[in-house]
Subunit: 200 residues, 2 copies
Amino acid sequence: MAHLSEDMLSNTSKNLLLQMTARRNVAPKRLIEPGPTEEQLNLIFRAASHAPDHERIQPWRFIVVPKNKRANLGEAFVQALKHRAPNASQVQIDAAYEKALRAPCLMIAIISALPSEPAVPLNERLISLGCAIQNMLLMAETLAIGSGITSGQAMNAQSIRDLFFLTAHEEGVCFLNFGTVASRKPARPRAPPSAFVTTL
Amino acid sequence: MAHLSEDMLSNTSKNLLLQMTARRNVAPKRLIEPGPTEEQLNLIFRAASHAPDHERIQPWRFIVVPKNKRANLGEAFVQALKHRAPNASQVQIDAAYEKALRAPCLMIAIISALPSEPAVPLNERLISLGCAIQNMLLMAETLAIGSGITSGQAMNAQSIRDLFFLTAHEEGVCFLNFGTVASRKPARPRAPPSAFVTTL
């Protein structure tokens, strides 16, 4: 494909590309206080609300884990670990617990497979959630708030499902973390379009 | 949550919110010529490349269907319809075929479930694709290019899989359509954050 001359871009497109380029995943241990203000967080969620949503079924939701519930999440991580690895060491147990304490702002993203009429496949529901998440990450970036996505084997452990009162139709997909960036890794190289686009 | 005073927003955040708000799904029949230029399309794909991608496995790809292959796609839609509804009427058959002819720029989004090491669940791969798609839709918006996502029962019909040479690990997720907006519906109301956010 033709090389894009940056000077041919409108300022709007250029700024958006810069925001997309500037965003990168920040590990929760490098996300420190202060976290987003209530107004900033509200704006991040408003960004999420503008995701495409086929048939308008709102198939996803978020649950914020405030500071006074982090210990409960830590306990749920520990239970999940003990369940899948009964011989886990104390070091591993402590590490699992501490995962709940990082990042000033932490939330779980949940997808619902509840049958809808008309039907919307789970694939499409996850695309909608992905769109919502990208809007959130980009909005955080414009607010100078760092973000990171985390997940892992505990994601749908019974202890986590119980903590968040997930229904039988729901699944935890990932955690979103927001905060001030303590240190930032350099941008990673991105695949050129030729790596993921072909023409029939 | 606190009401957000627009005047407290930085211009950057405000502009991004406006872009997100301005974007809406445009049905392919309302997407007319001209489509994106090659440079614009390249920029849209560059936007996609900035999606989060856990373990950097690049689990998705796109195949553009150029004008001279639309008839083949139309035939595949017809075969898919005849397979699932052997008694389909000629009107239905014509409608299935014509779906392939709309929108100046049409592509399929494909997800791969090919096992990776470390493992990345399909849920997360679809989130990555969703993030990529949202970046594409937003970038198109800044270029004054309309966009729409389409899907349907033919999505993974054998005729479609054959046409795109999908591997056993791959699935078609949706089609993306781009073009000039002939007519635009009013923005639909969006759910307030309180509709999809709670606190543990």
